[in-house]
Symmetry: C2
Amino acid sequence: MMSLQQKASEWSGVAPENAFAIDEVNLFEKLGLQPFVDLSTAFYTRVYEDEEEWFRSIFANSKKEDAIQNQYEFFVQRMGGPPLYSQRKGHPALIGRHRPFPVTHQAAERWLHHMQQALDSIQNIDPDSKIKMMNFFRHTAYFLVAGDELKNSAQGAPCKHAAGKSAAG
Amino acid sequence: MMSLQQKASEWSGVAPENAFAIDEVNLFEKLGLQPFVDLSTAFYTRVYEDEEEWFRSIFANSKKEDAIQNQYEFFVQRMGGPPLYSQRKGHPALIGRHRPFPVTHQAAERWLHHMQQALDSIQNIDPDSKIKMMNFFRHTAYFLVAGDELKNSAQGAPCKHAAGKSAAG
């Protein structure tokens, strides 16, 4: 059986060493806080206005400002900054916290589309950091698609009728 | 509804600022790699020999040396060292990866009992670091108990007959 990491790499096309190239330099020290706030603001501004209702509706139960804060605090913490996210919310627990949402391949691609556009719109992140971040995002998005499938696995779900999901990969 | 963080704090008795006091100093830089290897080795040596069969059996499908490596690589990564865990396995995804296991209050206490004993047996960790680590472990153990309950929540589990769990807290 493929591991979460193997699925993430195969589906995203991003090898682990490229996904975690974000750790080669301390991106928070290099960039400071503001680019992370700007990026998450640009991202969720796009998401909450998405013309694709199926994608927009995934976020309908969260307030935009909360979504922005959750995201940039996680990015800051993961990319070398202070543990803002954990101090406020605990472990990132990415799979557990995405459990309520349908993290399909299609949703991952839509998320990545908006993130690429948001990243393109940000001036105060250098091109090399943008590439590192996008590889991290791409790998992580598919890591969560792999995590989403655990909901339907015999290992994770004791019920046989967990409905509505198709096998992927 | 209480958040994961609130449940972790209430059940563990460890406030978030104490749980994440591990971030006040870089414990990996302070301690080096060896104490983490020693700690996880001492911990799993106890666990795999636990006289409590119900607890020992939780780990029966994993090899002891793999369990040791997974644990110390995560600790090293989370406590300021290189991202050994993510390079090999991806995001820690603590709740997702504990999904196959029955992380009850009782299991958390047994885990913490062994970890306290393991920590007591390690010479090359100073007392202040031990207190910080134990607060982190205690909070995290109950964070995972809270995460475990998501399996039975309406939000997380579409099936009504997911059996065998009692409400806690």
